[in-house]
Symmetry: C2
Subunit: 110 residues, 2 copies
DNA sequence: TTAACATTGCAACCAGGTTGCACAGATTAA
DNA sequence: TTAATCTGTGCAACCTGGTTGCAATGTTAA
């Protein structure tokens, strides 16, 4: 199978019927350490993952936006949108960002 | 007690020793419906809440940023920072935003 | 006083995430 | 080849946060 949007442990467990949850979890953890995938907390209750793309730079400050569709529950990586420069209060140092925009995606917004 | 930063069910449960978790949960849910507080998903594993301030507008698109300190684990509402205008892909319609910047806060960044 | 309603605590449950342990297959060293 | 070791996996159990049903208690109004 193939995912165009972010996927969760749960979704993998459902699709990979013969593989144990713990195995998938450990594999995801490994992939994340190797920076093949990155975590997204989209507020859906379960952590999602997305494949890192060329120049994904997911550990750096200019991490991209994510869009969570409240209708179909899919989470999209908006890789073309970078997080703009933000003027933080004094002495606050940003290392990472988790940006999830919520609304209705193009597929559901007919 | 008084919180300057966002608080979780857990924290309240710890501080309000005589009050049951379910009661706190139901009260938080009520407060949220009444828009006295708003939810923040800071990726710490547990949902946080913050008091809505004058003009908090937490249901609207221009919800403010949050800052999660990875050192002290506090989550700050950066009410003065509004989410900038974002050019979404065609037909994507944003209704809400959950923006959590992560790093080190002023207290920890000495 | 009584009936209706609201609030609370307790216990149980659920889901997602995580870990310990034992087993099987692959790999390596003697 | 054989023995020792390493690696990957499944199973079961566990933890935590969140959530709900239910019964008991408190409050309000007629």
């Amino acid at each position: 199978m193939e995912y165009n949007t972010a996927f969760s442990l749960n979704m993998l467990e459902y699709d990979l019927v013969t593989v144990d949850k713990s195995t998938i979890f450990r594999t995801l953890t490994l992939f994340e350490q190797q920076k093949l995938i990155h975590k997204i907390e989209d507020g859906s209750g379960s952590t999602k993952y997305a494949l890192c793309v060329e120049g994904c730079n997911c550990e750096a400050i200019d991490q991209h936006f994510h869009f969570h569709c409240t209708n179909c529950k899919e989470t999209f990586c908006l890789t073309e949108l970078n997080i703009p420069n933000i003027q933080l209060p004094s002495k606050f140092e940003m290392k990472q960002a988790n940006v999830v925009l919520k609304g209705v995606c193009a597929n559901c917004n007919l």
